[in-house]
Symmetry: C2
Subunit: 187 residues, 2 copies
DNA sequence: GCACAGAAGGAACGTTCGTTCTCCCTCTGC
DNA sequence: GCAGAGGGAGAACGAACGTTCCTTCTGTGC
């Protein structure tokens, strides 16, 4: 029996993260969530007023994890080493087992309304990443960090999309090489 | 009253394209499709055994349109002019009214199973685009056309994802500039 | 020891979904 | 003129959905 360690709320969040990511949001019914989280319906609705609230909580929890992982990667010596570490992290993510694209892009595909709280969470995540890579490009000495930051975002979004649909290893190599080229990390 | 010109099948396809793209696939019920296509349920199921078949037909029709649009853009003079025209086309698409990301990436978010006929249609579309841009990079004289083709795919995927979630105009400028840089179209 | 909050277990609600069915009308080919 | 295919209109199906409710149990603080 899985999912008996943490609190019911944590089990719900962890199950939501796994099921929403691997199977899509609208396709996963509340039944599956409560069953696989070893939680009852009553407990579900005690913690989350509606399924949508769990979706938003799942995205925000994922956002937190990604920010922590990126912060750790960027906590290297020189800006060049930080940039290389970030590219490695991206490549590692795209090649990880069970990879299914970007949590936020996938969620946006299912929630078209930009005013939806779920889309707001997506926008906040993207604004953070955009800002992070732009400042990284600036520290790495790129002559046009705004442009370089936007290209890094495009490469990142593209890698997350393509790694699910094409060959992840090749996508990994491509995004790392393109990022290194852009930031002139090889000389 | 819209959608009364073409055949019921064409009206269904056109309506499916519009609704699936702008609102998502699982969120659009058969009711909406038949109502907005001015078609009865019986007619719907006479042409498509199930909703899934309409989804696949919608993707294949979109694939056909994109291939035609790209072929027209590439039908220019020099390889450099063709490449510039393709980049312009991408920028134009990402800034068009009602843009909602990539039809195929969005559909994949809702259909996780790679064996699903819908995912097969997505894979075929992507293989075509990958091949197209690789041959374009080769004709444009890039020293490593395989690599350049993969970067163009990443930039393309990234642009389609980012243009919906961020500022389309900036995404447009960025992808065009990055593509021109990659293929050295500016000198 | 007891009150009370939180969780389990499970039935039940009303709605909506995809799909099927019946009936009737209107063309078109022969 | 008629047969048959294709489409319109709408009722109806069972299943699945999100949500609510009721009852019972278990822990913890006072």
């Amino acid at each position: 029996m899985p999912n008996t360690g943490q609190s019911p709320r944590d089990r719900l969040l962890e199950t939501a993260r796994r099921l929403f990511y691997t199977e899509g949001i609208h396709t996963v019914p509340v039944d599956r969530l409560v069953t696989e989280a070893n939680v009852t319906r009553a407990t579900f609705y005690r913690h989350f007023p509606a399924k949508e609230n769990l979706v938003e909580a799942y995205l925000r929890a994922t956002d937190d994890e990604l920010r922590a992982a990126v912060a750790e990667a960027l906590d290297k010596g020189t800006p060049q080493e930080s940039a290389a570490a970030l590219l490695e992290l991206i490549g590692q993510v795209t090649c990880s087992a069970g990879f299914r694209g970007c949590h936020f892009i996938n969620a946006s595909a299912e929630y078209p309304d930009p005013e939806d709280p779920i889309r707001v969470a997506v926008a906040e995540h993207r604004a953070w990443f955009q800002d992070t890579v732009t400042r990284l490009a600036e520290r790495a000495g790129h002559p046009d960090p705004e442009y370089a930051g936007r290209v890094l975002v495009l490469l990142h979004d593209g890698a997350l999309s393509a790694a699910e649909l094409d060959d992840p290893q090749q996508v990994r190599d491509t995004v790392i090489r393109a990022g290194r080229d852009l930031l002139r990390l090889d000389g």
